[in-house]
């Protein structure tokens, strides 16, 4: 028990929690834009996977992780247009669209990777982001190594919170976006372009999710494997729900899931073996319990409903 306390209080644990949370954070912050505009962000997994591969290929061929990131964000945005087309223009059931979209992304990334490299015994490595300590802050005791010696994209993930808060709650655009998710009919009568706002929400979601995905293939890791996102898109989706569709809530939920992961790996490293299956279902069980115990949370009122202008 004392060991465990030691782990939780350690610098390394906080450092790892921040690291593990950041791809979830990027995806969840993106997902919020889509959800608050009234479109379920179940396509997150496919968008992340797209970003993972695009970033890898971009960085592999150009040698620059920044170019890789840019390509990933562009590809994530383009790919999400497909999801937007189905959900918004064709007013499809969003769950159905997400199922189709995710499997399409799986197929497309698998084929593209195979097309690029075939089956060889060579290890394909791309240039990846390197940790960038922040001057002065990184030298602070305790706090420095916890928070200020990360990859650049990790800082971005954390700085997104104030940006998202500002955009969603302090700008007219954010108000419009939220109104579209709450009451599209009313928004429409006030002159808000419902369809355009939803497109925007989904594309931002795709761009940020792809950035989160790139953190895997050219951030912590410098290689690609089919399905290497391993369900992180769905965990980000759960984080949004757990966080009651608020930026702060989703932020804390993503942190919690990241910390839970960091903790379970450290518990294993102490020689205590919890079956990994239990640890893998933990974020979902926690979210479910939180939902049921805390009661019905306020999702955007028009979430999941296609808006038919006619």
């Amino acid at each position: 028990m004392l060991d465990l306390l030691g782990v939780v209080l350690s610098v390394d644990f906080v450092f790892a929690s921040v690291r593990l949370a950041s791809p979830l954070l990027l995806a969840a912050m993106g997902g919020l834009f889509s959800e608050r505009a009234g479109v379920l962000s179940l396509g997150l997994e496919g968008m992340m996977l797209t970003g993972t591969l695009a970033a890898f290929l971009g960085s592999y061929y150009t040698g620059s992780p920044w170019v890789g990131l840019a390509i990933a964000m562009v590809c994530g945005g383009l790919m999400s247009l497909l999801y937007a087309l189905a959900c918004v223009t064709f007013r499809a059931n969003q769950v159905v669209a997400a199922v189709g979209f995710n499997i399409l992304a799986l197929g497309a990334t698998g084929l593209a990777f195979r097309r690029a490299f075939g089956i060889t015994d060579k290890l394909h490595k791309a240039a990846s982001f390197q940790p960038t300590p922040i001057p002065y802050l990184a030298d602070l005791p305790v706090v420095g190594p916890m928070f200020f010696r990360h990859l650049p994209l990790v800082y971005v993930a954390f700085l997104l919170l104030p940006v998202v808060l500002f955009v969603l709650y302090r700008t007219t655009w954010g108000l419009k976006l939220r109104s579209v998710g709450e009451n599209p009919l009313a928004a429409d009568t006030l002159g808000v372009k419902v369809q355009a706002m939803r497109y925007a929400g989904i594309v931002i979601c795709g761009v940020l999710a792809a950035a989160g995905g790139s953190l895997l293939s050219i951030g912590f890791i410098s290689t690609f494997m089919e399905e290497m996102t391993a369900g992180r898109g769905f965990i980000a989706f759960a984080a949004i729900i757990f966080g009651k569709w608020t930026p702060v809530g989703a932020f804390l939920a993503a942190l919690l899931f990241g910390a839970a992961d960091a903790l379970q790996l450290r518990v294993q490293a102490l020689g205590i073996n919890i079956p990994y299956q239990i640890m893998l279902l933990f974020p979902y069980l926690l979210t479910l319990c939180a939902l049921v115990l805390v009661g019905k949370s306020q999702s955007p009122a028009a979430l999941g409903q296609p808006y038919d202008k006619t």
């Binding site: 350690s10 912590f220 290689t223 290497m228 391993a230 960091a262 020689g271």
Partner: protein, 323 residues
């Protein structure tokens, strides 16, 4: 009424299709087929098998075919397909194919089936091959036990399957035999594809002072190697020579050669000498071997490990802690 007609039409269609096709069994040819449960470019378990298959093509002149990402429901029918097309050898790569092999092998007594990583032998035409994972775990464990300075060793596994379990048991036994003061911790990521988690698992161990890590399982290997790269922590690879994964930390890899196994078995088969047995293959048979040592492994340690390898080959060490 209309629906009824549609249903009847459909049944009729299926019935004609059924009658229309007849089962043709082609004579056996010099062809070998492989079934794997994941992609052939995974850089690990499945790719090993794929490379083994291409060796049969390149060295023995076999015509080859592979089916990737095979789902459990399709096991039996895929084997039947290949058997019907005159494939002389059907290779199933994994423990999960056991039931289908039991079933299909009876229907095609002339076809030779080979299972790698399982125990589905039938004394007739199903041959099962197991790697001696425990023995390899033992050998790498000896190296780790001798090389550690902190006396803390880490194991990172992907999914809890028998071969990885046996590997870890052998590793722990060796540590007990050669460095009883050292402790071993193990971590499981629960995924074949989650490289990031493999890396985090290794980092978590390193944070507690672990200075030698052995990983087993595709993404676990990639991840653990990424974790040790650029640190002083030493790495032991698995399944192929993983020197390029972490050049400065890589001490050695336990190389598993599916190619050697397949060549060995198929040569026997061509001589009519393959009778449906369980083959347990390891260092003695050349199915596993150590890659080149990294420069950091001193000569006396190499000698000790090599001695253990020789003793195992000679049958002098048999207890790998799995009983």
């Amino acid at each position: 009424m209309k629906r009824f007609t549609v249903i009847m039409l459909c049944i009729l269609l299926v019935a004609t299709a059924l009658v229309g096709c007849t089962k043709k069994e082609q004579p056996l040819q010099k062809k070998a087929a492989l079934l794997i449960s994941g992609p052939a470019n995974d850089g690990g378990w499945n790719q090993l098998a794929y490379e083994g298959l291409t060796t049969l093509r390149d060295k023995m002149g076999f015509q080859i075919a592979v089916t990737e990402n095979v789902k459990q429901a399709d096991h039996a029918q895929l084997m039947r397909n290949y058997a019907n097309q005159g494939f002389k050898y059907v290779i199933a790569h994994g423990y999960e194919y056991g039931d289908a092999l039991d079933l299909v092998a009876k229907e095609f007594p002339k076809v030779t089936f080979i299972q790698i990583g399982g125990v589905a032998k039938n004394d007739k035409n199903v041959n099962a091959v197991l790697f001696t994972s425990a023995e390899a775990g033992y050998i790498t464990g000896v190296l780790a036990a001798l090389m550690t300075k902190s006396n803390k060793l880490g194991l990172v596994g992907a999914v809890d399957i028998p071969s990885i379990k046996a590997d870890f048991q052998g590793f722990k036994k060796a540590v007990k035999d050669f460095n009883p003061a050292a402790t071993v911790v193990e971590a499981w990521t629960g995924s074949w594809t989650d490289i990031a988690k493999g890396k985090e698992a290794a980092l978590a161990q390193m944070a507690t002072g672990v200075d030698v890590i052995m990983a087993n399982g595709d993404a676990a290997n990639h991840g653990a190697a990424e974790a040790v790269r650029g640190t002083k922590v030493l790495y032991i690879g698995w399944s192929r020579d993983q020197k390029e994964y972490a050049p400065d930390s890589h001490m050695v890899s336990n190389v598993q050669s599916v190619a050697n196994i397949l060549v060995n078995l198929v040569e026997r088969g061509e001589k009519g000498d393959l009778k449906g047995a369980l083959y347990i293959m390891g260092y003695k048979e050349g199915a596993q071997y150590l890659s080149e040592y990294g420069a950091m492994v001193p000569a006396d340690v190499r000698a000790k490990v090599n001695k253990v390898v020789e003793d195992i080959k000679a049958g002098k060490i048999t207890d790998f802690g799995t009983k």
